[in-house]
Chain length 281, copies 4
């Protein structure tokens, strides 16, 4: 256990709000980041972008560079993927959240992203975190699959210390002996991180469970436990996805998902930050 300085919560009322253009993360409104695991084709991305924006979603996720366990698996469309993201974002007025894999790619990814995502595999790559600390764009910092809560917050400390105060924490499951789910979603880490730190904390139940049927219950659980937002994988044709389709919810079910989250958010006097607020039926 190391002491936190910049990332530490000083008092109960001290909570950071991260500005992303004209949007805010960490306020009463919960953020919802939705989109495909990976950018695959222009048609795929546009269909998803159109579908989610129609439901009021303001943030789109999508990987252009994918960190894959096997070098023979689809590695992402890379630069081409970034362009497709930008184009869809402009067309549908979406903020882009996309992963930057490495220091050498920061310059390339920077102009295309509204929020730069640090993946679980980079959560202890301190040299990289130092570089991200020099940027002026928000960083979505995923918890390492073997990071303790303290280590996760210290990773944020590296970025804050570099001068970038815009860090959003993201719980995405840890690696345990139980492979019933892809990762073990550590829901308790959400209120604990918020107790120890002033930074906003969101949850990624797609990566956290690796199983479509668990995404909604774990999303509700995360919000019930105090999460400031959710990041989920949505696909128009999950069965055809080039990566992780098994954990993506159907685009056609996103409306129902949003309603469920809105009802849950309301319970803690929060709302979901959407362009066209959906009504709870």
């Amino acid at each position: 256990m190391f002491d936190l300085k910049l990332a530490a919560r000083q008092n109960t009322n001290h909570s950071s709000v991260i500005q992303v253009g004209d949007e805010f993360i960490g306020k009463e409104e919960l953020c919802l980041i939705a989109g495909p695991c990976a950018v695959e084709t222009e048609a795929q991305l546009n269909q998803i972008a159109k579908g989610i924006s129609k439901l009021g979603v303001k943030f789109m996720r999508g990987g252009a560079y994918k960190p894959r366990t096997s070098p023979y698996a689809f590695q992402g469309l890379q630069k081409e993927g970034l362009k497709l993201l930008k184009s869809a974002a402009q067309k549908y007025n979406l903020k882009i959240v996309t992963e930057v894999l490495d220091t050498s790619l920061i310059e390339e990814v920077y102009p295309f992203a509204d929020i730069l995502q640090v993946g679980s595999r980079n959560a202890k790559n301190y040299q990289f975190l130092k570089e991200l600390g020099k940027l002026d764009k928000p960083i979505l910092l995923k918890r390492g699959m073997s990071s303790t809560v303290n280590e996760w917050l210290l990773a944020a400390e590296y970025i804050l210390l570099g001068g970038n105060q815009n860090v959003i924490l993201c719980e995405r499951g840890i690696r345990t002996f139980d492979t019933s789910t892809r990762n073990t979603m550590d829901i308790a880490a959400i209120p604990l991180a918020k107790e120890l730190s002033h930074l906003p904390v969101i949850a990624d139940p797609s990566q956290g469970t690796g199983k479509r049927s668990l995404v909604t219950p774990l999303s509700l659980a995360a919000v019930a436990a105090g999460a400031d937002g959710l990041m989920i994988e949505v696909h128009n044709e999950p069965e055809e996805a080039l990566s992780d389709g098994f954990q993506s919810i159907y685009l056609s079910k996103l409306g129902a998902y949003i309603k469920a989250i809105q009802a849950q958010a309301k319970l803690s006097n929060r709302t979901l930050n959407l362009n066209i607020p959906n009504k709870i039926s």
Copy 2:
């Protein structure tokens, strides 16, 4: 992965309801089991029993035999503790949930318990599970701290195969590399166990987190994810508790806790099974 037979869910509508006297677990009503980690004195137990029954709680937990890591730690009042539980239960009309540590203690504990609890350390003690399969009282089967979901359900299978169909599953956290919390509460295991099995599943966020401030958020999370009930540790003076006071909520805060759970339950069209239904303020 081994195949389940008796414990397996056959179809969507197939859900077991466990009868405990005139009460039911696994119906629309969520059960709430509250009480001290351990029975300590008559005064302590009576004060807690009185307090929880006043709030409508119908099930009281309390350990008479305690499985302690060190042989020099308080081992429970044993037979004397069982008598105190019975006496308080009769006085305040409470159903008793208490742990039976070993086959050799079944006969002793049986008359004092309405639900016999199998602790995490016994979750793979198959000979013991076979013995419990011969009983006619409900078994609260905690998940082993290193049991996969499949192994947890197979433990239930042992009891069912013995002839006792009254098994309630209880998620209480698993052991992982992260010691920020006492255990890592595996919230995803709740909907997953319910997907795979027809047995009711409750959650123990006291043992699951080991931290008082996390008990309410994790209780809400468990209910949001579909739990059929909660088991929590409540103490009149947690600071003076002989065991695990740090994870017990204050008896004086139980009313507020109940209201929060009721509101959460309502979201999924469920209620909390209480004698005197509290109103949500």
Copy 3:
């Protein structure tokens, strides 16, 4: 971390020696316990007993009661298996190491065993450990699959405190995220346990790795790290074994195994305790 009392090493020279009839465990001589995972038939057991005794092995393992994850898997020959063990032991002058699964079975197993084995699933079954503390026969205490070294030693403390000073510790692997091997053999726990405690420590690389090809290298590693003995699964026909054949070495290869261990033992000025000392070729 809890303090040890009876199990704690007091000084460098303080090491317990456990007497088993006219044999000793914890002296310069390393013990070798070999035999099948489970007793299956009289023919199987006799063939293995004959084979190992011919090579000088003095201790035979064999499960009569088997703790199986699935209730539909072979549960052992039970009482019949105990009788077969006794008969083979008498015929071939072998000491018997066999698991006792539960308090209710102590009386049954006691007369048939020279060393009573406590399995990994019972490593935190404190009521059972208390009962074993009342016996006058040695206990082989396996480490729990989720027990820290401190918890493992505290389990021994329970037995010692009951009055039985004859405890042999057995490292058999812990449960981790990596399923490449059945368990993760924690070789460092061997010298660490010996540093903290005066009790002898042996290793079970069959259970620890779950893979035949790893049994010899891990046996050598355990001895190199200071183990006081080895317990391994040997079968005349592993492919036909009713349980765990994949981790049993061939009886026909046991001679070569023994030679390798003898050479390793010699390096730390130890020998292998055998009736007919094999020469290193």
Copy 4:
């Protein structure tokens, strides 16, 4: 589990030998890499370099850039540290093994290192591994603290696929629930990795155990299990070390350590690759 191609062992006799200048890793001779956790001062490094070279050690480790959990901990002397390593290496005729933390530092570290080390925290940083695949110097690839054996070998596959065939695998312990030791040294992973792959495998028991007293027994265990070499932390004044002194062995004890390893190596008909072969007393 993903299939290996380039990293897979094709047949029993197929073992890669990595050339490092005029030295070889993966032959009958075991390599020994010794040195401080971090380069601290010119005096410290020179004293250690002198001490180890006098004992015949040919490879020196030493971190110039250190990946530290806290941004407030000593981060290494960086460029200055690299220069000190080079200078000591030239003076004492040592090959340098040092960590490169990030793609952005490859160019800087490259000229100073004979072997580039990839740390546990970078073990799944695939973009970085791709870059290392373009180099012509050997890569010492540590296993990730949460990498399965398959994932570790796939990380090597990334480097091989890039064109760099010179990969040395290093087991350094994995992260488990047990914090008795800093990591849990997975000794079985050594023979398993050698069974699955043709690449040489060495062990780092300093990082693997985090405890000085366990470094020798675990070094012996690793060699007994088939390791092709060892990497250990040695310090002239461990108590004064700026990082990880508790796991460094005393320079004054290195001679005795070497003798113990030589004796162990001899058992498998191997020797330790040293300039001045020490005799076994």
